[in-house]
Each structure stands twice: as structure tokens, then as C-alpha cells.
């Protein structure tokens, strides 16, 4: 199978991982049981190779000004060194080019972590927009990235760090990052659990990974990553939103900084119109009341109201029920039906997250 390989690819193959293509990368789907990997993260600690994600460093005097124009959320909120912000990057029509995390490293210097499948278009777009601000855009393809997630993740991963950085890393508050020598450690993630995402040089990745496993951290594939983020009510780019949908119709309204009014950002005019329109679609969680499994693109029918579509559906190992995120017609209702292979199954509308920090957040 041809495809890009992360610095940990040989480790995955040696561990018997089922390898799948993800955005052009050969990535581990699971190492035997996706459900066991999922539960390890909810109950203990799991490690994910996320080296396929793209790290982009920005530098220049006008970087703050540039990012306030490029991104729908406002980096002016980032006052503390190391603070992170989740945001969408919109096109002029208000569609989502990508969702990303931006870290404020120091005045004039920021780090972005963007999706793997959108890498080429993201870099092209950012570079094009950056020219007017004389901001240097540097893709850091030589870096690897490991996410360690779960209630025991920080405690265990801290043992792998050099003594010099351990205390500072453990003192990181949620959504903060730290440049620790050749490592970058951030208390962020995509699972709904506490933990770190660690950016490190490619040649240090194998050793770091192995030390985590030796400490009892479970190697987890992209399959568990997807069910964990779905339980946590976190959107997946390309599935829950893309260039044809506004963040307002994808449950991402909270990531848009409307204030201050005078800040112009790409897509602002377009999404302001969506915001002002009545009866726009809403984005919500679904809990399947019947047996079965909800899947992407299944039709949702709300009696007397209209129809919608599941954007992400699957089985929740924590709840032992099927759950989904869906784009639904506007209105107040609590029940709907989903068409699954010709049958109409009952679902309840719920507010995500379904699970956070090991705890069930909805009524079953």
C-alpha cells in the first residue's frame, strides 16, 4: 500500500495494527480491539500517533494582526504565553476551510495545528493571505506528534519527560502549551479526557512512544480516536463541516468571536447573513433508542417539522448505545426518527457532549 508514513509507522506494523489510508497517510485504525483502546482512554491512558497532522509556525511582527483577519475566533484572547484557541478558518463565503488549534508562543510567533487531509490547501491559503502581512509561514513536516489521553495520561507521560521540564509540564493548565527544549507539550486533545499532545522531533518519536507503552499506556488507533471524539461531541472536519457549511450550522457558533464588531475576518460578512436569517438548521446530538447503529449520511425525519442528516454516527463504547451528531431542521422537538436500511428507528435529541472526563453527560 502506497502512502505517507509517520516516524512511528514501523512500530504500528510490528504491533499488528490494521493500517488504513487516512488523508493520504498509512495510519493505524486499531491494534486488535478498537473498543478496548477506547475504554483504555476513558479509564486509564492511551497514546495516539497523530504525526499526520500538520504543524505550521508563523512568525512576523504583524502575526497577531494577520491571525485576527485569517481566523473566525480572535487570537487577541490569547494573552498568556502558551495559551491555545480552537477556531475555524473560513473562506469568503463563510464555509469552513479547516478547523485548527492556534497556540500563542510569544509576541510575533504562533503555532497552528491543522488537519492532515487539508494540509495542501491550508498551507496554500495561509501563505497567500500572509503575504500582505509579511508573516513567515513554515510547515514543520519534520516533526512528529503523539497524543496521550486519559485520566492517568499526564501522570504517566510526565515520567518520560526530562527532569528539567516535568514540573512545568504538570503545571500546565487546560488549553495551554509549553516549549520544552525540542518538545512542545500542550494540555489539549480530541477525546474528552485530560492529557497532552506532544510535538517532538521525528527521530525522538519511537523512543518516546515505546516508553509510554512500557509504562502501561495503551496504543490507540484512529478508530478509537473517532469514537472518543464523537462521544465528546467534537466535530470532525470533512464530516461534520466543510467548505459548503457555515460554522453556525455545524454546532461551532461558540468558536466565532463576533466582538469586537470592528474586527474584520475572512467570512465574517457571509456568516453574519446566516446568523441574521430565521429558521436556519441546527446541530445536535442523537441517541438511538432502538437497537442498531447510526451512520454518517442517514436521513433524520422530524414529524411535522422536516428532515435532516446525520453527519457523524457510530457506536458509543462508553454508553453501549449508538449516538450521532446531526444537522437538523430548526424547531423545538425532542424526538425524531432515523432511516436505517429502510426502517425508521427512534432517536432522542440530546445536547453533546455525550461523555466527558469518563462521565456520562446525558440521560440514558
Amino acid at each position: 500500500m502506497m502512502g505517507l508514513q509517520t516516524p512511528l509507522y514501523a512500530k504500528h506494523v510490528a504491533a499488528g495494527a490494521r493500517i488504513v489510508d487516512f488523508g493520504g497517510w498509512n495510519m493505524p485504525l486499531h491494534y486488535g480491539s478498537q473498543i478496548e483502546e477506547h475504554l483504555a482512554v476513558r479509564q486509564h491512558a492511551g497514546a495516539f500517533d497523530v504525526s499526520h497532522m500538520t504543524v505550521v509556525d508563523l512568525q512576523g511582527e504583524k502575526t497577531t494582526e494577520f491571525l485576527r483577519y485569517l481566523l473566525a475566533n480572535d487570537v487577541a484572547k490569547l494573552v498568556d504565553k502558551g495559551k491555545a484557541l480552537y477556531t475555524c478558518m473560513l473562506n469568503p463565503d463563510g464555509g469552513v476551510i479547516d478547523d485548527l488549534i492556534v497556540y500563542f508562543l510569544e509576541p510575533g510567533r504562533f503555532r497552528l495545528v491543522v488537519n492532515a487531509a487539508t494540509r495542501a490547501k491550508d498551507i496554500a491559503w495561509i501563505t497567500e493571505q500572509a503575504a500582505a502581512y509579511s508573516v513567515d509561514v513554515t510547515e514543520r513536516a519534520e516533526l512528529a506528534m503523539i497524543a496521550v489521553q486519559g485520566p492517568k495520561a499526564r501522570e504517566l507521560a510526565a515520567q518520560v519527560l526530562d527532569d528539567e521540564w516535568r514540573a512545568a509540564a504538570l503545571a500546565l493548565r487546560p488549553f495551554h502549551g509549553l516549549e520544552a527544549g525540542e518538545l512542545f507539550i500542550a494540555r489539549t486533545g480530541y477525546t474528552g479526557e485530560d492529557g497532552w499532545e506532544i510535538v517532538l522531533p521525528a527521530d525522538a518519536a519511537e523512543s518516546f512512544w515505546q516508553q509510554l507503552l512500557d509504562l502501561g499506556v495503551t496504543a490507540c488507533g484512529l478508530g478509537a480516536r473517532d469514537t472518543l471524539r464523537l462521544e465528546a461531541g467534537m466535530n470532525l472536519y470533512g464530516t461534520d463541516m466543510d467548505e459548503t457549511t457555515s460554522p453556525l450550522e455545524s454546532g461551532l457558533g461558540w468558536t466565532i468571536a463576533w466582538q469586537p464588531d470592528e474586527r474584520d475576518f475572512i467570512g465574517r460578512a457571509a456568516i453574519s447573513k446566516v446568523r441574521a436569517s430565521n429558521g436556519r438548521q441546527k446541530f445536535a446530538g442523537l441517541l438511538l433508542e432502538d437497537r442498531g447503529v447510526l451512520r454518517n449520511h442517514q436521513r433524520v425525519v422530524v414529524d411535522g417539522v422536516g428532515e435532516g442528516e446525520i453527519t457523524s454516527g457510530g457506536f458509543s463504547p462508553t454508553l453501549q448505545r449508538s449516538i450521532a451528531l446531526a444537522r437538523l431542521p430548526a424547531g423545538n422537538y425532542e424526538q425524531a426518527q432515523v432511516e436505517v436500511r429502510g426502517k425508521m428507528l427512534a432517536v432522542r435529541i440530546v445536547r453533546p457532549p455525550f461523555v466527558r472526563n469518563g462521565k456520562v453527560c446525558i440521560d440514558l
Binding site: 447503529v293 451512520r295 457506536f315 436500511r341
Partner: protein
Amino acid sequence: MSELPGDLRYTSDHEWLRQEEDGSVTVGITDHAQSALGDLVYVELPEAGQELEAGGEMAVVESVKAASDVYAPISGSVLDVNADLADDPEKINADPYGDGWIVRLQPSGGIDSGDTMDPDAYQAMLDELEA
């Protein structure tokens, strides 16, 4: 390498068939199939007494990854279904040729009436898939 019992017949859709002494035929999915699907989370079973045509839909197995049809390898009527799978679909992952059986059929023809193959032919097919 997936496990491949020598006393079964196989189909190109990765089902296995076992001839029982009373003339019935038990059907399940192969070790290769369960491994490719990943953790199973739901199984939709036919009703006992239902008449099935060879090649028609018999059951649906859903894993964390996807839903997959299981086709009737031969024509016949459903004598029994593995009701335990409703609560424990992972039995198919754990024991695909034993506790993870799916349906028992009363075939209208013989076990060889459908498009089935012996273990060597199925192994050769798997080798080709993995090449």
C-alpha cells in the same frame, strides 16, 4: 494468518458452512471477516422459519467501522438463529466458528448446492486478497 477449520465449506463473501449430523447447516462469518470488520457491536438476524434464497440477504453485522450484509450461502429455511448475539455481538470476534455462529438452516438442496469452496480454495482466495 487467520484460523481456517478444515471441516467447513466457505464462500467468497467470507461465510462458513458446517454440515450438522441432522442434515441442517450452520452458517457464520470467517475469522478473516471478523478481523476485517473489527469489533462487532450489533447483529440483525432473520426470523426462524424465514425462507432464504442463495445469495439473498440473511443477516447484517455491524462493527464499530461499518455495516456489512451476510448473504445466505445456500437456499433453505431458517431453523434457528443465535439469539445470544443480540446482547453479545462480540462473540463473533471471540469465537467466529463456535459461539459466534449466526444462523442454522434447513437446506433445500445439499451443502454443495450453493457457490461454496473447500478450505484450500478459500485459503488460496485469502492469499490472493492479501498479496
